[in-house]
Structures are given as structure tokens and as C-alpha cells.
Amino acid sequence: MISIQTEDFCAGSEHQALRGAGPGTGAIATFTGLVRDSGDLSGVTGLFLEHYPGMTEQVIQGLIDEAGQRWDVQRARVIHRIGPLALSDQIVFVGVCSAHRGDAFAACEFIMDALKTSAPFWKKEITREGEHWVEQKEMDVARTQSWDQEA
């Protein structure tokens, strides 16, 4: 399930929902991204997140489907917030449950890595001195490409 929303989310409730996939679930891996004080700029006080409605959901569904072809994925959950966010706010949640831990970890990390380089979100950092559209990182692109090499 995919949610793109301005509201915050509760990681505990999401974790609980992933436990409901059935008696064959042995592993839950989750990732949560938070607004931190230094990104491209230091002294970050908040972010503004823009996205491309419609395309975003399609791209993320494609990543979940791809993860399901590569690993045993019983249930996958992606939440991404948009709009204004404050320091330490939750930005993104990816949770995967599986029979085995290797699959849960791999699918969760793959979805997260690929989301960063292919889902149409744009992040603007806000500091006391001004605003700045974040630049895409070569390391993020390299991390996503490394999953292709592994295939």
C-alpha cells in the first residue's frame, strides 16, 4: 500500500499492520527517513517537499512489484510525506514483511534506494539564510545502479 500525504504517520501502527500478513511472516524490516539538520546546507530548519501526483504512485508501485519479483515479499508499505516539514519530522517510511530476514532487508533497502532516484519528489531545504533545492547525489544513483548489477 502506498500513501502520499501531508500528515505525519505512526511507525508503530505501520509495524503492527505488517505483522498481520499471516503465520508465515518471520521478518519485518523498516526504514524511516527524518529531516536532519545538515543536508546540502547546514543549519537546516525544515524542508518543503513537492511531487508529481499520479506519477509518484505509479513509480512506487512499480518498485514494490519489482521487489516482489526479486524477493519473497508478503506485504510492503510505503508512506511519503509532502509539503512543509520541520526538523526531525518523519519524511518517508518503507516497511516490508517476509518469511526470511534476508528478503525483508533486501526488499526494504531496494525500494528505499530506488525511490530516491526514480520517484518524482523534490526537496527544498530551508535555513535561516534562505532556501535551496537539494541536488541529486551521485552516491544515491550509484546505490540504485548497484541493485541492477546484483540482479
Binding site: M55, Q58, K116, F121, W122, K124, W133
Partner: protein, 86 residues
């Protein structure tokens, strides 16, 4: 009867630089993404940056596209900077 058009959308830094969120242009026969981009860049001013040094990504009908991807009447074409979510 309305003329066949292509809807163009801009996001993030591009939207701000062009001060344009969306526009509609007449559909052209045998057009591609790169042709459309060149025609927009020829407007001059900030539009010239569309074919400048900064990387521009493109989606046609909400799927990632290439310079050679065809653009047809009724299509939605989006231009945006490399994505930075997550």
C-alpha cells in the same frame, strides 16, 4: 472545435525558474521530446536553460521518457530536475 494540443508541466526548480506550472502547446506531427524541448528553449530568457548545462528529466504520460520518445496530441509531458525524495 479545439486544436489538438500537448500539455506541458514543470516541477520544482524548473517550475520556479520558468514561473510556469503548466502550459498547453499545439501538437506537431512527428514530434519527439527533444524537439519539444528545443522549441521551448527557443523562447529565450530562462527557457534557454532547458537545453543548457543543468540536467532535465522528462516524463511522457507520467512514465520516464528519453529524448527520442514521441510526443503526440493529448500527451502530458513533464520536465523536472533529477528527483530528490526519500
Amino acid at each position: 472545435m479545439s486544436e489538438p494540443t500537448v500539455t506541458i508541466r514543470f516541477f520544482a526548480r524548473l517550475r520556479e525558474e520558468l514561473e510556469t506550472e503548466q502550459l498547453s502547446v499545439p501538437a506537431v506531427a512527428n514530434q519527439t521530446v527533444s524537439g519539444l524541448l528545443a522549441s521551448l528553449a527557443s523562447r529565450g530568457g530562462p527557457w534557454a536553460r532547458l537545453t543548457g548545462d543543468q540536467p532535465v528529466m522528462v516524463a511522457v504520460n507520467q512514465a520516464m521518457a528519453k529524448p527520442s520518445t514521441p510526443v503526440r496530441a493529448g500527451d502530458e509531458v513533464a520536465f523536472f530536475p533529477p528527483v530528490t525524495g526519500g
